[in-house]
């Protein structure tokens, strides 16, 4: 219950065009005010519960993304925001692009769109919280 009420997220911009990033930040503005649900954009993997990725994965950011994910404490979920992060989108065939975030990390929630709309992003976060709860329940059952 407490996990669900305090989602702190880490936002990482893979190789996005910045379109999705602006929309992520829009979620925190007065119109959408994601802090109503306790969402904090922490910028620090050690404090984060949700990893929010925008943009596609390429050979350079692959290691960075893995590293960030590894630093996050369990339980954690990954959100791929925008069509670039979901599949690579129109950049999928570029020589330097590996594809979507699921090429390197276990993605839990996909938020499509180019750019993904703030409503869709908030919806994605809410869904991710459900997954987070499931993961915690599974971890506790294992114990």
């Amino acid at each position: 219950m407490s996990l669900k009420k305090s989602p702190w997220l880490l936002h990482y911009d893979g190789s996005s065009c910045n379109g999705c990033d602006i929309e992520v930040l829009a979620c925190l503005t007065p119109l959408y005010d994601a802090e109503r649900f306790g969402v904090i954009n922490t910028g620090n993997p050690r404090h984060a519960d949700l990893l929010l990725l925008t943009g596609s994965i390429n050979h350079q950011n692959e290691e960075v993304v893995r590293n960030l994910y590894a630093q996050m404490p369990e339980p954690k979920v990954v959100l791929a925001v925008g069509i670039c992060a979901t599949s690579g989108g129109v950049f999928a065939d570029c020589y330097n692009v590996k594809g979507g975030a699921d090429k390197v990390l276990p993605v839990d929630v996909y938020v499509p769109g180019c750019a993904a709309r703030p409503e869709a992003i908030i919806d994605g976060i809410v869904r991710a919280l459900g997954v987070l709860e499931q993961k915690r329940a599974a971890a506790e059952a294992k114990k």
Binding site: S2, L3, T29, P30, E35, G38, R46, E74
Partner: protein, 285 residues
Amino acid sequence: MEKLMPALAYALLAPLAGGLLAGADRIVSARMQRRVGPPLLQPFYDVAKLFSKGDVEVNSLQYPLALCHLLFMALAGALFFGGGDILLVIFVFTVAALFLVAAAFSSASPYSFVGAERELIIILAAEPALLIAAAAIYKVSGSLNFHAVAASGAPLIKQLPGVFLCLFYVLTMKLRKSPFDLSYSHHAHQEIVKGITTDLGGRTLALIEITHWYENILLLGLVYLFFAFSAPLALAAVALTYFLEVLADNTNARVRWQLALSSTWTITLLLAGGNLLALYALGGN
């Protein structure tokens, strides 16, 4: 017994009051930004979540150091409200702050290091003001004991306006408000991300949050003392002070550490030091 009760009450209730204050702070901040803001109990949800995250320390020192940070801060506040010597309170308060610095220095992250260094600068900047405040309180009321000062009925604020203004300035640092939240900010605009807590997560961060609640109540207790001759006035003054701190937090960008340090010392010297000198020069008591 008379000393024990307020001390115990502080130890038990300060986290509660501090958490609620933090919740109200976030709502008021949000309203200032034309947002709705989180629920009042959000800080408690956050801390409960952090505890449920378990141990994520990068070394075995961090957690015990954070625990000492908490215990010494609670001790400082218990001493203060229990009627201990205010000078002793300031020393224990500083020791508590140093434990957090030590916890940050114990990790290898450069961000954590920068945060710890900045925290040291904040301690350095705030210390003279606190000590002068203690000296001034003694000069006016003839005591360094919370209850004796309050009972003396001395209108500290009338004789020590300079010291109070200086304390207000320093409070901005200690409450971790902009423009002086250089070592650790609660908001998104920080340059070094989470600064001093970069490598402190999970239950360690939960302890640090609770310590901060203890700290805030202790500092507001100091504000209370300046108006202690009338309890309703004092409570109103505490509320107004905190509101103004939140306002400052929402209307200021961050300053560099050089300015933070030099401005604080200048203000301490001019306002608090000048106030104290004037007291001695006029010989008033």
